[in-house]
């Protein structure tokens, strides 16, 4: 595998979708226009926690231009039932209630009703005329408030999992992993560091708001065009929420302007489906940026208590990590993933890691790039940094003394195969960045990070055209350059230039089932399907050449896009695909390769980041002045897009560390639902992010590929905090490290 010499994989061709995107011609979610289309709008809750006593839509329905109004009464009452175990799952009843509130509103901005009208202005005006009677309840806006004795309970009928509770509770789930003897481990430690960390709820911040358009036909079939990471999951989830057969729903994914996990769930689709059915006309709904912030999935705010014990020589002997995550209005925070990843970068002979899922009156969280891992990793890597200081051991050296390698067991069970954490640490230690002297008020931090990466189901079709070009059809929306990466893998097998391979993202009726674009899985798993489909096509091409030559297919080999005779057929003139392709009709018809896979998880991803920060002690303003990410990609198919993932993840993590947070008023209303006040990093905020790609081949992939999209957001929170510690002398245990908080800490520290 690692010995294979690649011709196209590892190069940097221009992406096939580039021209349409840079010229503005690409069609995103809100670009879909259908004849007779209506515009939808959502009426949303004015309260963060309230019982719905009545909803009167009559004034909205009476408004000129309004064609349909729906409320929860139009939705089937799907029972709330957890499909899964303590470690994770789905509740379609709760998904339905998040899409349209039933009985209670559970966060400010929770959808209550929806209108379809001839213009967006009329639809919005109609929403204002919907009258709702509430019994206002006290909102639960923090972990402390949710866990306090006598706290208002969001879901009084819900049974928690994994914990014993004497009565209703806002804790919905506990997940734990333990090994060794924790007490003995800490008793054996020479140094123990124990801290508690908090991180705010933050949003994924994709540029493109949620948008969908739905057409309903008289035969009962729905067509959905939407911005999503998973057309098949839109099809399935929408059908379940509306209690219809999934085969009545066709989903066509548009181009997607970012998702980061936030577009792995649904908000608008079933609403637009009902409005389209009721009005008899196509309906488009587009969220405003404010709606995106108020009512679409952020990731959890969290609290993590971390206790780390080590011997004087730096060996970790015990780790105890307790994670509490806000799930938002309905259960299902990434507490499980946070727990499974938290201690996975290092070997701990004695450990305990616990994750708790807690509901609060905030938007229901959705997946966000390595869900949960940055939060637990922030605590663990901050404590590792403190331990390095206490032991007076270089922070990279301390990590190397404890870093997991092949054969080590992860705290959540499995044993690692070939992994690249140590390689990334060695590269970091030898990188010029790590050796460059720092100036005044500057500090340097290091942190590692881990993400599992996912496998899951994928299918692919590779068809050969009569001119010798090819089409690759898969079902994964292209978020991070996957089209070109998949085309490159097909090109590698077919032996034709990548420019002659056209990658297509299909809808749910034109490709085989494919799980969503998520879990850093597309280049790995769908790529595996593409490789196998292309190999299937190549086998057929060998058979066609054999037919033309009148020889056996085993006497034909395929090299660099050319059929060569071998064995008894060695005297045949080589036949390039361009010559063979026009003859496919005469030799049996079109050549179409296909494959479907459901591979094991994709080979874990590890990274080490180095951050330099400069802090103005007068104002508390900080500036990341240099940042290097080093990550094991297994095999970088298109290095530019691997680097892009590494850079993007780092920047999102820097934003999480330094500025991003929701601000809530006492009534549970978000005060900063826009990019002006919710401060995400822009280009001028960060330096060029340097990248080093490490390639430790993943033994489960034919090219050695590992997922790369999520790992890079895991280390930055701690890397920045550790740099801040070095620059200011202050250990920040609360994010974001915004200027007022930094200034206050510096002043408190007497600098």
């Amino acid at each position: 595998m690692s010995e294979r010499k690649f011709k196209y994989v590892g190069t940097r061709p221009i992406r096939h979708d580039g021209v349409e995107k840079v010229t503005g011609r690409a069609n995103y979610g809100a670009d879909v226009v259908l004849p007779g289309m209506l515009q939808g709008a959502i009426a949303r809750s004015e309260h963060a926690h309230a019982r719905i006593l009545s909803i009167d839509t009559s004034k909205a329905e009476a408004l000129e231009g309004v064609k349909a109004v729906v409320t929860a009464a139009d939705f089937p009452d799907i029972p709330c039932e957890w499909k899964g175990g303590a470690a994770g799952g789905t509740d379609f009843g709760e998904l339905s209630r998040n899409i349209m509130a039933r009985d209670k509103v559970l966060y400010h901005g929770h959808a209550l009703a929806a209108v379809a009208a001839v213009s967006p202005e009329i639809a919005r005006e109609a929403c204002k005329r919907i009258e709702v009677n509430y019994e206002v309840l006290e909102p639960v806006m923090s972990l402390d408030a949710a866990l306090a004795p006598g706290a208002p309970i969001l879901h009084p009928d819900q049974e928690p999992m994994g914990i014993e509770s004497e009565g209703p509770t806002n804790v919905t789930n506990r997940l734990a992993f333990e090994g060794g003897d924790l007490d003995a481990g800490f008793a054996d430690a020479d140094v123990v560091i124990e801290r508690e960390f908090t991180t705010p709820m933050v949003h994924q911040g994709y540029i493109e708001p949620h948008a969908c358009t739905v057409r309903f036909n008289e035969d009962g079939k729905y067509s959905i065009w939407c911005s999503t990471q998973g057309p098949f999951s839109v099809q399935m989830s929408s059908a379940i929420v509306l209690a219809i057969e999934p085969n009545l729903v066709k989903c066509t994914p548009t181009e997607i302007g970012g998702g980061f996990g936030g577009k792995t769930t649904i908000y608008l689709e079933p609403v637009a489906m009902l409005l389209a059915r009721k009005s008899g006309r196509p309906v488009r709904i587009v969220m405003s940026r404010e709606e995106v912030f108020r009512a679409s999935g952020p990731t959890s705010g969290g609290r993590v208590r971390m206790k780390l014990g080590a011997k004087r020589d730096g060996r970790f002997v015990a780790g105890d990590c307790e994670i509490w995550l806000e799930a938002g209005a309905f259960r299902g925070s990434p507490a499980g993933a946070a727990a499974m990843t938290g201690l996975s970068s290092y070997t701990f002979p004695n450990f305990r890691i616990q994750g708790y899922d807690v509901v609060v009156n905030k938007p229901k969280v959705a997946a966000y790039r390595a869900p949960g891992a940055p939060i637990s990793n922030f605590a663990v890597e901050s404590c590792v940094d403190e331990m390095a200081r206490e032991l007076r051991i270089d922070p990279i050296e301390l990590r190397l003394r404890n870093a997991v390698q092949e054969g080590d067991r992860a705290p959540y069970g499995p044993t690692f195969k070939a992994i690249g954490l140590r390689d990334t640490l060695e590269q970091a230690r030898n990188h010029p960045h790590y050796k460059t002297p720092l100036g005044e008020s500057q500090g340097r931090g290091v942190a590692c990070g881990f993400w599992f990466n996912a496998g899951m189901q994928s299918s692919a079709i590779v068809s050969v055209n009569t001119d010798g070009s090819a089409v690759v059809r898969t079902g994964n929306p292209d978020i991070g350059g996957s089209r070109v990466s998949l085309a490159m893998m097909a090109a590698e097998e077919l032996g034709i230039p990548v420019e002659r391979v056209r990658p297509v993202v299909g809808d749910t009726e034109s490709v085989g089932y494919t799980d969503l674009t998520g879990g850093s899985r597309v280049t790995f798993a769908t790529g595996m399907a593409v490789i196998e489909a292309a190999q299937d096509a190549v086998q057929q091409l060998r058979e066609r050449a054999a037919k033309i030559w009148g020889v056996d297919a085993k006497d034909v080999k395929w090299e660099d896009g050319i059929a060569h005779g071998c064995n008894g057929a060695a005297d045949q003139d080589p036949m390039p695909l361009k010559v063979l392709a026009p003859k496919l009709g005469a030799t049996g018809g079109p050549v179409v390769g296909r494959a479907q896979v459901n591979p094991a998880a994709a080979g874990p991803g590890f990274a080490t980041h180095i951050c330099d920060i400069e802090v103005d002690p007068e104002t508390g303003r900080s500036q990341v002045i240099r940042y290097t990410t080093i990550q094991d990609a297994g095999k970088a198919v298109h290095p530019s897009y691997v680097e892009g993932q590494m850079q993007g993840g780092a920047v999102q993590g820097i934003g999480w560390a330094l500025n991003e947070e929701y601000l809530w008023d006492d009534d549970g209303v978000i005060e900063n639902p826009g990019f002006l006040d919710y401060r995400m990093p822009v280009a001028s905020d960060v330096p060029m992010i340097d990248t080093v790609i490490v390639e430790v081949p993943n033994p489960t992939h034919p090219y050695g590929v590992r997922g790369v999209g999520e790992t890079p957001i895991v280390p930055p929170l701690a890397a920045v905090a550790n740099a801040m510690r070095a620059a200011t002398g202050v250990r920040f245990e609360q994010l974001p490290m915004s200027p007022p908080r930094v200034l206050e800490a510096i002043d408190r520290n007497g600098r």
Partner: protein, 81 residues
Amino acid sequence: MARVVFSSTQRALVDGAESVELEARRVVDLIEALYALYPKLAGQLDHAAVAIDGDIYNEGRFQPLEPTSEVHFMGQVSGGR
């Protein structure tokens, strides 16, 4: 016999056992044997991912097991990107 290692959350459902060895040709057979042995576990593994000798399968019910296989059940591994 395949060896199943339980997480501490699962231990509460299997009488505190850290691991158990059972005869099973496939994961689905193993799950049935586990449910029979530990009634409190019933249903809990229906949607779980399974790790067999370090390889994690989100949907691994029909994966074959070797007599020496080590098996862990866990939450499905997905993600946000």
